[in-house]
Symmetry: C2
Subunit: 230 residues, 2 copies
């Protein structure tokens, strides 16, 4: 069975990617990076999803990105905004996907895996530069120059199966593969029980996705905030 | 003053790079990654070098690469070899420079720095794939696609000023810039006092470099092992 490293945040997108990789027959080594994100409920979700989808293993890699600051997702001093803004938002984590893919690449080399899966998405991507197809292509090029495997001609492939899908298409894809989205957490500021705020960008995109897909939304919202949810 | 992030391991090469960047007039933000290397004496050396060369700041970033295993430098189960072998050695840390540059890139974005310095060297490079000019070019290409700065047209540059120099040329360059190499540690298995083993690949290249440069070698060797040193 071909080995793959699958980046798994515990959110809706990466869970769908794991379901896709499993369906394609890969032996999946799921990797979650604890980069100081506020929503550690997401990491617990990653654990549930890895088990549910039969990953070969699930590893949590601590990465103290919070020490560098600079993002609302890792720096407690910056507030998560409730209104979507133009351009690149403050929830952008500097060089995030570059760092995540780099560590996944290191682990892939150790495992002898030649396939990396990541749930980036260029459609509903909130304006992050490292979610675009040209970024993925550039990383694949780098990976084949950077590694022993690449140098020896054993090509490394970066798979981004969601990159051209809308949130609704992603949700339908996962549902078709039997994924139970109740196990996932997307909210940027979920409470310790994994209940969503219903107000951040990520919650909004997720709720719109289920509505557009015509599927019931299994998201659990924090009680006080459900009332405010449009 | 232009800001730069300088990757500083505490070894001979990265210390020379910091000296070069300072001479070129950059405000230098030195970054050392503690990726579980056995020779933490190298990190203390980084601190000394950063102070000696007037870095604006020096930050230590903990990165638990040891958890992934796979290299003699981070995995205690793999022995550091005393004889140079053909091909890529076991001291290779999977995807190391990709990971180091990625984290440096994240910090550069936060600082608003557009310049990254790294001491890779393609001449005496021990066969590591991520020390070649094509790797550096590929990373620069990636950096400009991956980041807010790059997207907004504010080009990020990766500087690898040692890439085409021999170890002897690097040492002469540093000496010309007034760098005191006594502060640096290159050994893969230095003792807690920073004394070198004199037998690993890195010690050998360093000793040969000083000899070829015709300069006195200020390296402190561990007493019992100095005797064995050829």
């Amino acid at each position: 069975m071909k080995k793959a490293v699958v980046l798994l945040s515990g959110g809706l997108d990466s869970a769908t990617v794991l379901a896709v990789a499993r369906r394609q027959g890969y032996q999946c080594h799921a990797l979650s990076l604890d980069y100081g994100q506020r929503h550690s409920a997401e990491l617990q979700a990653a654990q549930r999803v890895a088990e549910q989808l039969g990953a070969a293993e699930h590893r949590l890699f601590p990465l103290g990105l919070g020490a560098l600051g600079g993002s609302a997702l890792t720096d407690p001093a910056i507030q998560v905004p409730q209104i979507a803004t133009e351009g690149i938002p403050v929830t952008y984590v500097p060089a995030r996907n570059t760092i995540l893919l780099s560590i996944a690449l290191g682990w892939a080399e150790i495992l002898g895996a030649r396939h990396l899966f990541i749930g980036v998405n260029a459609v509903d991507y909130s304006g992050y530069p490292d979610c675009r197809p040209e970024f993925i292509r550039a990383f694949q090029n780098l990976a084949n120059l950077a590694t022993k495997a690449g140098v020896e001609g054993d090509r490394i492939q970066i798979h981004a199966p969601l990159i051209q899908l809308t949130k609704a298409q992603i949700i339908r894809l996962g549902a078709d593969l039997g994924l139970d989205y109740a196990a996932t957490v997307s909210c940027y500021q979920a409470d310790p029980q994994g209940r969503a705020c219903g107000q951040c960008d990520s919650c909004r995109l997720r709720a719109q996705g289920f509505a557009a897909a015509g599927l019931p939304d299994p998201t659990r919202y924090a009680q006080t905030q459900t009332k405010k949810h449009p």
